[in-house]
Symmetry: C2
Subunit: 411 residues, 2 copies
Amino acid sequence: MKQSKLFTKTQKFAPKDEVSKNAQLLIRAGYIHKEMAGVYSILPLGLRVLEKIKQIVREEMNFLDASELIMSGLQKKEVWEQTNRWDDEVVDVWFKSQLKNGTEVGFGWSHEEPIGEMMKNYISSYKDLPIYVYQFQTKLRNELRAKSGIMRGREFVMKDMYSFSLDEKQHNDFYDATIEAYNKVYDRLGVGEDTFITFATGGAFTEFSHEFQTVCEAGEDVIYINREKNIAINEEVLNDKILTKLNVTKNELEKVKTAEVGNIFNFGTEKGESLGLYYMDKNGKKIPVWMGSYGIGITRMMGVLVEKMADDKGIVWPESVAPFQVHLINIGEEEKVEEIYQQLVAEGVEVLWDDRDIRPGEKFADSDLIGIPYRVVISSRSLEAGGVELKKRTEEEGKIVKMDELKSIIK
Amino acid sequence: MKQSKLFTKTQKFAPKDEVSKNAQLLIRAGYIHKEMAGVYSILPLGLRVLEKIKQIVREEMNFLDASELIMSGLQKKEVWEQTNRWDDEVVDVWFKSQLKNGTEVGFGWSHEEPIGEMMKNYISSYKDLPIYVYQFQTKLRNELRAKSGIMRGREFVMKDMYSFSLDEKQHNDFYDATIEAYNKVYDRLGVGEDTFITFATGGAFTEFSHEFQTVCEAGEDVIYINREKNIAINEEVLNDKILTKLNVTKNELEKVKTAEVGNIFNFGTEKGESLGLYYMDKNGKKIPVWMGSYGIGITRMMGVLVEKMADDKGIVWPESVAPFQVHLINIGEEEKVEEIYQQLVAEGVEVLWDDRDIRPGEKFADSDLIGIPYRVVISSRSLEAGGVELKKRTEEEGKIVKMDELKSIIK
């Protein structure tokens, strides 16, 4: 894509009321636009990143044999009253409104209840189970404060998956498979080494739940980890009992700030029972369905990647989700650059070509801010030296490479 | 995909309160689930159709050099007050709620105002124009009644595009190019012949706007058409003046019921002026930006296709948006069907294989209800006759074809 066709321009400053690093950088580089605190529009560059994150997650969920769907945002009071979660005293993040006839409606902040309710149409016999479904959806949560940029928005994109299983064994097998799938997701996003499955507060059915926490200074959580033993415990549940259970002492643990990038919940049969979701077993006996829910915050993940990898010049995207692989910059040499641009595009490389008529210094500064993994500069100097200047965003110095070499490095 | 892996099952009846044919069929076949009047969740089969419609629209919008983005759903009062469209007396479809601190917020029923407002960040000079952007977005409209299924929902997916142009010439060129792009979309969706660009009520800036209307009994509009002259006029603007202008008499026009499947608006400089969206021309003079907006209702389109093409047995999808190309049904012959299924999948054909252990009659009835373009039956009878039985959904009788033939017909 030619950069002159991008309507967004980099900005020297983010809005004054924007206090989070991730949103500041994403706004300045033209990935997002701030509508109000905690509410951002996703601009063309941002949408490319978001869709890549979604696609990685989608592939891993499909690998689990889960089916994608999209539930409605508008929510029915009666469905949430069954589990006592309509009440603002119980759930304090509802946005609510009403139909013209006065009927109260809510806007989906989660979808456990409506998905469970819907499944009553499709689950009656043991033959119908298991069922795994997931969605990418814009959730709305009326957060009291929204100061973490896209890491905790009032409007945000989330992948939520739900499992409906016959019994504890089937449930646990899927729960374990999901942990593996999540680990693959974080690996592919470039944060595998710094992401820990963490013991956290449980629910009515289980003593603990599992969170996936990524080491990140801007995170809101504090966890204790032991990298060697691959143990992580949220400080909220850190006590002697769990230390004994995990066979670790507090001295062996390192305290780190983290951002929650995923969570998985085991509802056991509790949610099914409160929603009235049962099936008939082989003997005609009525059995409550085992349910689990499994979330990954997609926009949050995008924010965490920015917070974690950015340097003082701007954003640094991992290759797997960068909006483009190559930022092509020419200093003069219009004919040559057009030729190289066409070649790279023909080879299927995603290239952003800064074809704007501005000073090289501005192009370099913008390139650092936008954070594309490979910068390729074409100038009379590079051509004389036999090729193009290639610099990784994470490196200080570039080097001259021939075109053939370039292609093999990028792929 | 194996049908046994689809959690949805066909249903004999739609919910009693569902009066529209499109939603009745889509619910019964397992494409959507009704959450409340005018609010539907999109199930895996439905999502396949929806994404295909979106992809067709996306390709044609990209061909116009428009950039995809996603604006926020949550809306700021101040932005809409500038054009006097926050007031419920002026716009009667707002869903509104409030933040914890009492600030009123709305939920996007359209995005002209916030997109125009945002563009103030990116438009200052004539060099910045033109800009074309579009999005696929879930809109919320608090409709008084919602009885048309997914043809007019309270929550629905819409493609909306916005143009920002230097002057009337640049604006009109894009406006005309969009008309062509829309015609291509409707052709690809299989309703080109029955879709008319129609003169309709204008706005403050123009005497008329243009709607795209598809002939459809379930539609809410009445238009007058002349197929030969390719003229269409919404009854709301039918008068002697327009007849003279178009050089047609009322006798030459046929009255038809239609569904609006797209609309395009020319705001001229009016919207830009009310939002304060100006640019500096070459001489440093401040000029208001020309704006246009261009919509296609994506879920509505899905509903129109069902209404228009369904027969008394069920849905009939056009090939371009069908969830699968082939519905493979075996009567016994488990080994042979597995082989053929694998072959077709390997060739890139989208196959739904009804591998369920139920009566053939049930499989055939379900297949007609679901509406996949090609039905392929494998039975001892078909194998003895030398191949598989192929029947198009639109045909009454199938015929025996060899596997090689099948592949060439389907592609």
